[in-house]
């Protein structure tokens, strides 16, 4: 029983971080109706940026949170402006801009393999003052980097939610997500909103990169691991839903960590896919998705 509770603690913490990786994806989908296949690669870029920052300057790992997300915001902002907007405009009449999926997949290939060319295929970790530290709560052990990651994840989700409902820009994002033609008519510049959504989504991938870095290894294709999970999480929670992403993340984290108590970890991966498919068939809109989205 102790082992199961320990697994629940670990799974919840890890799951919140999975939710964080899915948050940017769900935001971009919610606003643009585009699945950003480069999302995992952007996470990888965030991880490598944090890695080199920590490695070269020796700063505390969480100080990278002040540098990496803003950098990635501009990266995402201009990626959407230069690469995705033109394709979007060309497909304006199409209800679903599927070509954009291919552009983002192209970005994925380019980023992952540029990283491979620059840094090689090896797995890298940074040894920091908090790596491997933990405290005990009764008979349970809580890892400090994972707990910090959990706190940052929840804070980011709450922050994004507040931004969406309280600020003018957030409301403009929501309006564009609901009906882009109507939002256009109300004087909202659709493409500026897309730039913002993509920028914020990418910045969140940067935040995720920073909090994952102290206890995970980084390598050029690390994004794929989180990518597939993020896809599953956003569909579980409902594409476009913030709390759906967090809940979906925690569910996936729990499945992974609790089931690995009883079976080889490769099988837990299979269970995640099975759960995903069952939910998709029973309730394709996910927990909090809107029916018209799928």
């Amino acid at each position: 029983m102790t082992a199961v509770i320990q697994a629940v603690i670990n799974g919840t913490m890890m799951g919140a971080m999975y939710g964080l990786t899915a948050l940017g994806l769900t935001l971009i989908f919610g606003v643009m109706k585009v699945v950003n296949f480069a999302h995992g690669s952007l996470l990888m870029v965030g991880m490598f940026t944090a890695y080199w920052l920590i490695k070269l300057t020796g700063i505390h790992p969480y100080l990278s949170l002040l540098v990496v997300p803003p950098l990635l915001f501009f990266f995402g902002y201009y990626m959407q402006n230069l690469l995705i907007k033109p394709v979007f405009k060309a497909e304006q009449q199409v209800r679903e801009p599927l070509t954009v999926i291919i552009v983002t997949t192209g970005v994925w290939y380019v980023l992952d393999n540029l990283a491979l060319m620059l840094f090689g295929a090896e797995y890298r970790t940074v040894k920091t003052s908090i790596t491997g530290t933990s405290f005990s709560m009764g008979e349970f052990i809580v890892s400090i980097p994972k707990l910090s990651g959990f706190v940052v994840s929840v804070a980011t989700a709450v922050g994004l939610w507040l931004f969406m409902v309280k600020t003018r820009t957030g409301k403009a994002l929501q309006a564009t997500s609901l009906d882009r033609e109507a939002a256009n008519l109300m004087g909202i510049d659709q493409y500026r909103i897309y730039n913002l959504a993509f920028g914020i989504g990418t910045a969140i991938a940067g935040i995720a990169g920073c909090v994952i870095m102290p206890f995970y290894y980084v390598y050029p294709s690390v994004g794929v691991v989180f990518d597939i999970r993020a896809f599953i999480i956003v569909v579980l929670g409902g594409l476009g839903s913030i709390h759906g992403a967090m809940l979906g993340g925690v569910i996936i984290g729990l499945i992974e960590s609790v089931f690995s108590q009883f079976m080889p970890s490769t099988w837990t991966e299979a269970i995640i896919y099975a759960v995903f498919l069952v939910i998709l068939f029973v309730k394709p809109s996910g927990f909090f998705g809107k029916k018209q989205d799928w």
């Binding site: 394709v87 050029p220 896919y273």
Partner: protein
């Protein structure tokens, strides 16, 4: 010379060149590159029945290649059944699985459908990697299956030289192209196109969009599985990560999109554009800078989508039209 005569002459010329190539090209390496080019063109043409005509974006077709490869190989390795028969069994199995998957998923919109097919394919790969045997059937988990050498034998679908493989895949490609051409001009083709563009409108006209999509899916999966058997017999070895990974599924979709989704020539043009690029950049750059060839591949993908979002077939067709009108006008004047 009329336009039709010109088209037919060029088509005949193309066919003659395709059949004559192995007489000129003797290097097994280059023949292998050509075989894989046709293999990908074939797979993409089969994919196109769903991904092109029915207007959805399946991103997990490697599953059906895998079903074909595993079925025929298990049948021939363990029960001595000729891969030619196993190939058909694999095709039927893949068609059944395709319909099973298609029935619930075809209700979904594009992004959901794409994600769902990815998850299905990855789930399938993870399962196969974890299963050593199902009852008496040996799958060998992550190690994959090896086909023992039995020597030159048509019945065993094994040849010591590349030429027979070349002609088999060429004929398969021509047949599937002919089938696509036929379907695109049939009632089913029009219904599929209508259902892909405006499903609600098509439904309102009394077209059973879902049924036509399922028929297209079954055909596509059946044909894809045949290529799986071909691949197994060509390589004599395959394993889940290589055969069932996302790379193969994605490449099929990319070839279609670069060539032109929903057009008959698109898959062939896409394969002609991408495969040699892929092979040669890997051969010449892969050893010096790992990853560079995929950077180039990704960049080309982005550029084509930026400047020719409908694929390369449309601009090429325009160039050909210009050329043809000049030729035929000259012919008329003489």
């Amino acid at each position: 010379m009329s336009r039709k005569q010109l088209d037919m002459t060029l088509l005949g010329l193309g066919l003659a060149v395709s059949f004559a190539l192995p007489l000129v090209i003797k290097s097994p390496t280059y023949l292998q590159i050509l075989i894989l080019l046709f293999f990908y063109a074939y797979l993409t043409t089969a994919w196109n029945l769903v991904g092109g005509f029915a207007g959805v974006l399946p991103m997990g077709h490697a599953v059906f290649v895998g079903i074909g490869a595993y079925t025929s190989t298990i049948l021939s390795n363990q029960y001595g059944i000729s891969p030619w028969i196993g190939m058909l069994a694999g095709g039927v199995l893949a068609a059944l699985v395709g319909v099973l998957i298609g029935k619930p998923t075809f209700r979904m919109r594009g992004a959901y459908f794409a994600l769902c097919t990815i998850a299905f394919a990855e789930g399938f790969r993870v399962m196969i990697e974890n299963i050593d045997s199902i009852g008496p059937l040996k799958l060998n988990g992550p190690r994959g299956l090896l086909i023992p050498l039995k020597g030159d034998s048509f019945w065993n679908y094994q040849f010591m030289h590349k030429e027979p493989y070349y002609y088999i895949i060429l004929v398969m490609l021509l047949l599937v192209l002919a089938l696509t051409w036929f379907i695109s001009r049939s009632r089913m083709g029009y219904y599929l196109a209508a259902g892909g563009e405006e499903p609600e409108a098509a439904q309102a006209l009394g077209i059973n969009v879902a049924r036509y999509k399922l028929v297209a899916m079954a055909m596509s999966c059946f044909l894809t599985a045949l290529a799986g058997t071909f691949y197994a017999q060509l390589m004599l070895y395959f394993y889940p990560k290589g055969l069932l990974g996302l790379d193969l599924s994605f490449e099929i979709a990319f070839i279609a999109l670069i060539g032109g989704r929903g057009t008959i020539a698109g898959p062939v043009i896409g394969a002609l554009a991408l495969r040699p690029l892929n092979e040669f950049t890997r051969i010449y750059l892969g050893s010096q800078l790992p990853g560079l060839h995929l950077v180039i591949f990704g960049t080309i993908l982005i550029l084509v989508m930026l400047y020719q979002p409908k694929g390369l077939t449309a601009p090429l067709a325009r160039i050909y039209d210009k050329f043809a009108s000049r030729i035929t006008r000259q012919g008329g004047a003489q």
